[in-house]
Symmetry: C2
Subunit: 398 residues, 2 copies
């Protein structure tokens, strides 16, 4: 039952190198690296040249390779590699959240068609074993919500802002210097990265196949000094949160900045840490924190998947059978803070109710309750002059 696995790795960046070190230091795991396929012929490598190849076929056409680890950045190149590997009967482990989220239906079908496992714990909040727990522990629980902080870059930036009084541009620069944010950070700060992880979680928690373009992500990139001042005055931090909640046969899911008070479990989730809150009928309330990024944390998630493959593990996707009439819906009411300036025209009638209004020389805000569908239709989230932040304790059925 303990298979001895031969691995072919695509990509040797932070995660690949983290995984290599993790495998080297781990006794007891029956896995060896046969080949590492990379793109850049000129990059200096920390391992002898014999490990490396520049030809995909050296792994994909190699009958000795049992498991392909897909650890590259480019999601479309990654999908082609994964598809070919599965067609050739090789198990696959990946950490590419966009690739998995964009192709979930095809990847699910290919696992059935080719009878090979595809595991992706490292794609979703690195070392928080959320996919494994949704599959194994919550598989029969009636989940009502899964939410949390799913992106380490933005949490690092917002920690520096609220705990060290840095401005967002300062905090972003520091994050980039330390490798917690990309040179182009838009996937993180606009909430796309968190959204891809949320889409993956929706499949395992609720059995839904969701096209990422059908899920709204409101980023943190428009948070201004004024918003930060308001948050501080009211005793809040701002966190970029991903939320999903089932009410009857509807599931609402989105990514949005949120005011978080010290009463919230998310308040003390700092720096590159991620957090996941699970609410179920029987387990009731669960909270996990762990490092959401980095070579070692993501490498440990990949290691855990490799280890599971030595026992022929595969995802069962049990919630898909149970999904029945469940649908993604935006027909819920949210309590939001909408900040804009005097040159922007806001149609207040879109709000179901307005709780507060503030107007000054430069900034204005409205705090009120609004139907999420109407919020999406308003296109306020697309306006560079308008910022939206969710209030705590904010969702009620419409």
């Amino acid at each position: 039952m303990h298979r001895h696995l031969k691995l072919g790795i695509f990509g040797f960046g932070i995660v690949g190198q983290g995984l290599y070190r993790v495998l080297e230091e781990t006794r007891g795991i029956k896995a060896e690296i046969l080949k590492i396929c990379v793109k850049d012929k000129n990059k200096k490598r920390s391992l002898p040249a014999k490990y490396f190849t520049f030809e995909k076929e050296d792994i994909l056409e190699n009958p000795d390779v049992d498991v392909v680890l897909e650890l590259i950045d480019d999601p479309e190149a990654a999908f082609e590699i994964v598809k070919t590997a599965m067609q050739k009967g090789k198990a696959v482990v990946t950490a590419n959240k966009k690739m998995v989220a964009d192709h979930m239906i095809e990847l699910y079908e290919m696992q059935n068609d080719y009878n090979v496992p595809l595991l992706y714990e490292g794609a979703c909040c690195a070392s928080i074993p959320i996919i494994r727990n949704l599959e194994e522990y919550y598989d029969n629980d009636l989940l009502s919500a899964v939410e949390g902080i799913f992106n380490g870059s933005t949490n690092y930036i917002l920690t520096k802002v609220f705990s060290e009084q840095k401005s967002i541009p300062e905090a972003l620069a520091e994050a980039q210097n330390l490798g917690y944010a990309e040179t182009d950070p838009s996937l993180d700060i606009e909430g796309f990265d968190a959204k891809y992880k949320l889409c993956i979680i929706l499949t395992h928690a609720f059995g839904l196949f969701v096209d990422p373009s059908d899920i709204t992500n409101i980023g943190m990139h428009k948070i201004s000094d004024f918003d930060i001042k308001i948050a501080r005055e009211r005793g809040f931090k701002i966190k970029l949160v991903a939320k999903s909640r089932k009410i009857d046969d509807k599931v609402a899911a989105f990514v949005i900045p949120q005011f978080v008070s010290e009463n919230s479990e998310l308040y003390k989730v700092e720096r590159e840490f991620n957090a996941v809150i699970v609410e179920g009928a029987f387990s009731e309330h669960q909270f996990f924190i762990g490092k959401g990024a980095g070579g070692y944390p993501t490498g440990s998630a990949v290691l855990s998947d490799i280890s599971a493959l030595t026992y022929n593990y595969k995802y069962e996707y049990k919630k898909i059978q149970q999904a029945n009439d469940l649908n993604i819906s935006s027909n819920i009411e949210l309590s939001i803070y909408l900040r804009f300036n005097n040159s922007t025209s806001i149609d207040k009638k879109l709000f179901n109710s307005i709780l507060e209004e503030y107007k000054a020389l430069e900034n204005q805000y409205i705090i009120g309750k609004i139907n999420f569908g109407k919020l999406i239709e308003s296109r306020w989230a697309d306006d560079p002059e308008i910022n939206i932040i969710l209030l705590e304790n904010n969702e009620t059925e419409n």
Copy 2:
């Protein structure tokens, strides 16, 4: 691969009834209850009489029963039931932490000898899936520590003391009224319950078989109003914590009350919630919170085990193979608060160093560093006039 399971249940108390309701409400799980064996013939039952039997053999000798759920209180009667069930080739799910901790070696060997699984997620912090995560996610990580709040009763009592300014006797009475503490609460307040769970975790985290009598449990039952006053003055709460830490080839493990500041993740773990902190070389730092007691949370853990059995799951105990020269040791230095009164004689020379001393008309305390082995030998923990509380950031290699 999806077996349809037929269950025989021993015990129909809080957990049994919680599980029954959980099974009733869960679609998709292929399991049915054949028989429930109980002791009390006169107790009114919420189910029709046909479900119940008073004869063990109606379950244990019944070839139709695949899985025995052992949900009774008496650990020795429980062990006899479990042993018989396994000898007869039936899989077993239990929630009895004392029984599992006291008989771990035998239970491990019986799983091998009779080739049947024994699962016990519900024995260890109810709905925090710690055993499953140690087995599945951390199986190859180099763990350095597992610790936390493992007992819901004592955490409920201490929450009432520190958050509502109740005295310990008041808080205990309230906990008993609400069903969070037993009529005889000594197993909880003296730290035995937390210790049994710690022993189970030591097997899965570090591969050690530990007799509970070899692990020191210092309870919360001697915490006085004076101790509470000192804690409050210094901005601390007191929590009853279970700790295990590996340093080189030694593992130190014990249960003890600890001063906890708001900087600690444990500070906000309140009421009947439990928490587990895992530190590993690769996953780095993980934190789980969940309800540690109650019919539904424990029932959800049992449900998760039943669900796993439909896939022929069993614990692999991988760390046992890796344990090698690992031993339980008390050769570490702890920073403690030792409170006593003027009629007690304390041999101060047992301390490696004394940081603070206080003496008043009724109470005295010493805060200092002491070798854990010397602390055990001193028998101060057995003296009703002496209380011991661990300081935060307290362990260093001796």
